[in-house]
């Protein structure tokens, strides 16, 4: 089959990593254009060297170019604010679909291993956040065994892997991830924490998931988690349990007080993950890039398989 042409908006860490992935690995997507706003951006220069169409004039710049007509899928790796603007342009073009890698979340949240069909028949899907892509499968893995009341995630990433967009979107990260823990993960209440660690050599992305659920068979929860880890590994090979799953009882006479939920007790499950990147753009410590761009590419490929 012929590949479908795509554009990437945002020539930072995420956009550049996605470009390299599509170029090297995709049987369905063909990289066509890279859109930035900074003439001196490394990502734009790299795209140019690889022979792709580039513009430093934002999406407006690409719309003026002849290549625009053939582009069917647009990945947005800018910021939440910029995404609103970009979607206003794309929304008017009925033949184009947007995959949103910002926390703007105009369209439905999509986590490939949990709700891959969320992208069906919509023209804007949202990839939540890197931390959400890494952790929400785990919340869902517990929730498919027993009711999760509360899901909390801690994402620690290397400072070097957090570009300007990530740094200017910290609040959006926590808010969007928390909401997606509820909507996609199935928790009544979600909470997300993010930490940047500047250590040298850079630390590999770590994600910790805590759930508070109804009591259930711990072996069944463990098995569900291991199975889900394998499913994520299908597109992010560096995704691993760093430790065996830990369980603690929160007894009824010593409940925890959770904002918006009140006093809760039950089973606390702790899942310690490590996400090693494929080393496409930034080195392998940047698992946060890898999991986000891999999920986005997979989503783009699914759209092609279904619609083209």
């Amino acid at each position: 089959m012929t590949k479908v042409k795509v554009a990437i908006i945002g020539s930072g860490n995420i956009g550049t990593d996605l470009m390299i992935k599509i170029m090297r690995n995709s049987d369905y997507l063909e990289m066509s254009a890279m859109v930035g706003i900074d003439v001196n951006s490394e990502g734009l220069a790299r795209a140019q060297r690889m022979g792709y169409v580039t513009t430093a004039k934002g999406l407006g710049g690409l719309v003026e170019m002849p290549e625009w007509d053939e582009i069917k899928i647009i990945f947005d790796a800018t910021s939440a604010k910029a995404h609103y603007h970009n979607w206003a342009i794309v929304e008017k073009c009925a033949d184009k679909t947007m995959i949103d890698l910002t926390p703007a979340a105009i369209g439905p949240y999509l986590i490939p291993t949990v709700n891959f069909d969320a992208g069906h028949n919509v023209r804007n899907v949202n990839m939540v956040t890197c931390g959400g892509q890494a952790t929400i499968p785990m919340v869902a893995a517990v929730n498919r065994i027993t009711k999760v009341h509360y899901g909390e995630i801690v994402a620690s990433i290397a400072s070097k892997s957090a570009g300007a967009g990530t740094r200017a979107n910290i609040d959006e990260f926590t808010a969007t991830t928390a909401k997606a823990i509820e909507k996609v993960g199935g928790a009544d209440k979600g909470k997300a924490l993010i930490i940047l660690n500047p250590a040298e050599p850079p630390v590999v992305m770590r994600d910790t998931v805590f759930t508070l659920s109804e009591q259930a068979d711990r072996e069944a929860i463990k098995a569900s988690i291991h199975k889900m880890v394998h499913e994520v590994q299908a597109y992010v090979p560096g995704y691993n349990l760093h430790q065996e799953v830990q369980f603690d009882d929160i007894p009824e006479d010593k409940p925890v007080f959770i904002e918006d939920l009140g006093y809760r007790y039950g089973l606390k499950t702790t899942i310690l993950l490590q996400v090693r990147g494929a080393g496409h753009y930034l080195p392998e410590y940047a698992g946060n890039l890898d999991i986000m761009t891999s999920a986005a590419m997979r989503t783009g490929e699914k759209l092609v398989k279904e619609n083209f």
């Binding site: 620690s156 926590t174 993010i194 930490i195 940047l196 660690n197 770590r206 959770i258």
Partner: protein, 336 residues
């Protein structure tokens, strides 16, 4: 430009750590009233890890921040009601909610190398008309020049004041001196400089005074040192020293002494003191709030707390990474 001394109490924020964020609303109210009567200039109230810190990772509080803050501002005659916000944990929405409850001053805290994630929050606080400070945590993990450059960023976002925050209680006296000097060299004269110490190497008061001598005017302290690790600079001791130095301030020594001994010390389930565990925090350069979490992990997995703390320091874990305590404990168990 000479700024007046400004004493900020942190017993009801940093002091949350030793009691696992379990102050009752009445305790908060009574202590705040006492501090206000004793003419402390500012009183900080929130979960130990700032607004919305309540979590499995940091410990759930006995109340929400909103419950602790509600009704306090109206009771204060002298002191400003303040709070703490750590981007990545709390958000601008949370800050608005605190402001609506009468909080008029906020400190926006980041790791000592990550000031740029505070831009949105400092700007938002300014737009809300709040007094706002930047709070550069784990100050020992950046050199004086590098730390001062981070302070400059916070100033550029609109911070009225920037703090050298020795979260690990790891800085020696000359190291505090060099950092404050570097701030003084690069910050505008109207920008105030603050100091926040932990007592893990017994330098809580000494480092605060050194900072003051170099030009810091916002000094953090807490009653009986009520704070993470071996505690903060003990407020009553600081005031006694300032009196002896004939430094101008507003606080009343005897009232604070009484509160420290009669109200705060009886609350301390785990003594807030320099001992082998808290000394290890300062010695290994570990975030003081890790203390109780590490002690719990040591008990659960049959390890020495110090071994866990040393390993956390070796791995250069930063504030907020409490989840890595379990990870380190499990690695230590597995390598046995």
């Amino acid at each position: 430009m000479k700024h007046n001394l400004y004493i900020q109490d942190v017993s009801l924020r940093d002091g949350m750590h030793p009691i696992q964020h379990q102050y009752t609303r009445d305790q908060i109210k009574d202590i705040a009233i006492g501090l206000d009567k004793a003419k402390v200039d500012a009183i900080e109230i929130s979960h130990g890890d700032g607004l919305c810190g309540g979590s499995f990772n940091y410990g759930f509080g006995a109340h929400t921040d909103w419950e602790w803050l509600e009704g306090i501002a109206e009771l204060l005659n002298h002191a400003k009601l303040t709070t703490l916000l750590i981007p990545g944990i709390g958000t601008i929405e949370d800050l608005k909610r605190a402001r609506d409850l009468g909080v008029e001053s906020v400190r926006v805290a980041t790791h000592s190398t990550e000031a740029d994630i505070s831009a949105q929050h400092i700007e938002a606080a300014r737009e809300m008309g709040m007094d706002v400070s930047g709070f550069l945590m784990m100050a020992h993990m950046n050199d004086p020049k590098g730390l001062a450059e981070q302070a400059k960023l916070m100033e550029s976002y609109g911070a009225h004041c920037v703090y050298v925050t020795d979260s690990a209680g790891a800085l020696l006296m000359n190291e505090v001196r060099d950092r404050i000097k570097a701030f003084k060299d690069i910050l505008r004269a109207e920008t105030e400089i603050g100091i926040h110490c932990h007592h893990n190497l017994s330098f809580g008061v000494a480092n605060t005074i050194v900072a003051m001598e170099e030009g810091a005017n916002r000094l953090d302290a807490s009653l009986a040192g009520m704070g993470a690790g071996a505690g903060n600079c003990p407020l009553e001791v600081l005031i006694a020293v300032l009196n002896k130095m004939k430094a101008e301030h507003n606080a009343d020594l005897f009232q604070l002494m009484d509160m420290a001994d009669d109200v705060i010390r009886p609350l301390q389930q785990r003594p807030v003191q320099v001992d082998r565990e808290t000394l290890s925090l300062g010695y290994s350069g570990v975030y003081s709030s890790f203390l109780l979490h590490s002690e719990r992990a040591a008990k659960k997995y049959g390890l020495d707390t110090r071994t866990i703390l040393n390993e956390l320091g070796r791995r250069k874990m930063v504030g907020g990474q409490e989840d890595m305590i379990i990870d380190v404990a499990l690695d230590l168990v597995n390598s046995k």
